[in-house]
């Protein structure tokens, strides 16, 4: 299978703190890769370096390369704004724009960047909400404020907003950790469907979730990539002792 994103000796520093240490790994196209590991192991930091979200963090420094479709996104002359349109992100806490309606949230990626024809916007909103299975729940109140939705609905709205701008990769930073079990299940089913069209990289605290949704799992510890492989193998016969200890709950 094709490689969509490739990390090559990726290092991330926050001031003196070396948060991610020379990580090299591939992310396959149209599959789900889970990044697991204990708190503070650098998994979110890796994720955020894939769409250059660290650019705005004071004191953050990235070395090495992140290759997306043959292109190093940290090259000079690469516009991070264009990268983020190709590589979208869903955050831990649902973060719809509070002042906007459901409709406006979905189309925000276009509206915030300029104008868009009404008919085209209608189409994008409907198809994006359909894709995240939210359309039937909200089609009669698209003008309602997005904050009226439940947490799980808000998170699906955020995913709809992300896929509305037609990315190729979707980064998810613990997308279900703030949700109840039923909403979590819905998000997981959604991830399963989305991988047909998108490459998905998901950070999760929840090992069962990683085992359920992912094709490939990467285990991080203290900023190092310890092991990366087929999810089935990682969860049954890992090569490294540390991985086994973590997965069996002996630490972390």
């Amino acid at each position: 299978m094709d490689t969509k994103v490739k990390l090559d000796k990726l290092n991330v520093y926050f001031g003196q703190n070396h948060a991610v240490k020379a990580v090299t790994m591939d992310f396959r196209a149209n599959s789900v890769t889970a990044i697991i590991g204990p708190s503070g192991c650098g998994k979110s930091t890796v994720l955020r370096s894939i769409n250059r979200m660290h650019d705005l963090t004071p004191g953050a420094r990235v070395t090495g390369s992140v290759v997306f479709d043959e292109m190093d996104i940290y090259d000079r002359g690469i516009d991070p704004v264009l990268i983020r349109r190709k590589i979208g992100m869903v955050f831990q806490k649902p973060n719809p724009f509070p002042a906007m309606s459901i409709y406006d949230n979905v189309i925000a990626g276009y509206r915030l960047n300029g104008r868009i024809a009404r008919s085209e916007a209608d189409e994008i909103v409907e198809s994006s909400l359909q894709r995240v299975a939210l359309w039937d729940e909200v089609k009669d109140r698209l003008r309602a404020n997005s904050m009226e939705l439940s947490g799980g609905q808000q998170q699906r709205l955020c995913i709809a907003r992300t896929i509305a701008v037609k990315p190729e990769v979707i980064l998810m930073d613990e997308p279900a950790s703030a949700l109840d079990p039923i909403s979590t299940l819905k998000i997981e089913e959604l991830i399963e469907e989305l991988k047909e069209k998108y490459t998905i990289i998901i950070v999760t605290h929840n090992m069962q979730q990683a085992a359920r949704v992912s094709d490939v799992t990467a285990f991080f510890y203290m900023g190092d990539l310890i092991e990366c492989g087929e999810t089935k193998k990682i969860f049954t016969t890992p090569d490294r002792k540390q991985t086994e200890d973590y997965i069996t709950g002996r630490f972390g």
Partner: protein, 280 residues
């Protein structure tokens, strides 16, 4: 006395003391307001808002030119001061590096602590002397210097209250930082920013000292920005120190209108500031 009774007594004494101090705080405000209303209310008439001051000895007359002049001065000062304050705050909160931002913050704090008469002198030296004449423009510049640090600091505080998650949401959609700042961050903070601007306007509406040797004031209609212009605080000042009974009455009426205006502005600002803020 048992322990419990003594504890209850202490509680009562302390509560009484606090009520007393609160009252002491309220008394001057109430006294000022009551006095101004008593002295000024009888002199407020339709003429007060439509006529310019009459020569001494003639009855009637009003402060229409002062009200008009104040409106012009405040509008001009706002046009100069609000953009500088708001965009400066955006720089501090969204773009600034640590060292430069800290220096600007410090400078703004010092600027807001400078006595307003000094601000007037600076405007006099830089804008009145070189152009050989008092002018409304010089007055507006002096007022805007007072406005800038207030608007800057309140706007910065409001921008910092906008959750990072909202900025990141927009950035992750491929929206450039400048658009994110204007359309998401600033818009979310708009209510608080408006409150800060209103408070700054209330502050400069009553400033007299910076206008004394910049806008100077006069007794007739003046529409040219390059010439002296009347303003309410100046007229109150001039009328109050004059020896004429008629003018004293006008001064009281002017004081009442000015205080009412500031009261209304503060209330509006409070009303805007009170509205519920979204907390994720």
């Amino acid at each position: 006395m048992t322990g419990l009774a003594w504890r209850k007594a202490k509680n009562g004494i302390m509560t009484l003391m606090m009520a007393g101090f609160t009252l002491a705080l309220l008394i001057p405000l109430v006294l000022i307001f009551v006095h101004i209303v008593r002295m000024g209310f009888s002199s407020i008439s339709f003429d007060f808002f439509t006529q310019i001051p009459k020569p001494t000895g003639e009855a009637g007359g009003g402060m229409a030119n002062g009200i008009f002049g104040s409106a012009i001065l405040i509008a001009l000062a706002g046009a100069l001061g609000i953009p500088v304050g708001v965009f400066g705050a955006i720089y501090l909160s969204e773009y600034g590096g640590n060292r430069i931002a800290n220096f600007i913050r410090f400078a703004a704090d010092v600027l807001s602590g400078i006595p307003s008469i000094i601000t007037g002198m600076v405007a006099y030296t830089l804008l009145v002397v070189p152009f050989k004449g008092f002018s409304a423009l010089a007055g507006a510049c002096a007022l805007s210097l007072i406005m800038i640090p207030i608007v800057l600091r309140t706007t910065e505080e409001q921008l910092k209250l906008v959750p990072t998650s909202l900025r990141e949401a927009a950035l992750a959609l491929g929206v450039p930082l400048w658009r994110t700042t204007l359309k998401v961050t600033l818009r979310s903070a708009m209510k608080g920013v408006m409150t800060g601007i209103l408070l700054a306007v209330a502050r400069i509406a009553g400033e007299t000292a910076p206008l004394l040797f910049t806008a100077l004031g006069n007794q007739f209609w003046s529409r040219k920005l390059t010439e002296p212009m009347a303003a309410m605080p100046l007229q109150i000042f001039n009328f109050a120190i004059s020896p004429y009974e008629d003018w004293h009455r006008l001064a009281w009426a002017g004081a009442l209108v000015l205080v009412t205006l500031m009261f209304a502005l503060s209330l509006t600002a409070r009303y805007f500031g009170r509205e519920k803020r979204y907390n994720p």
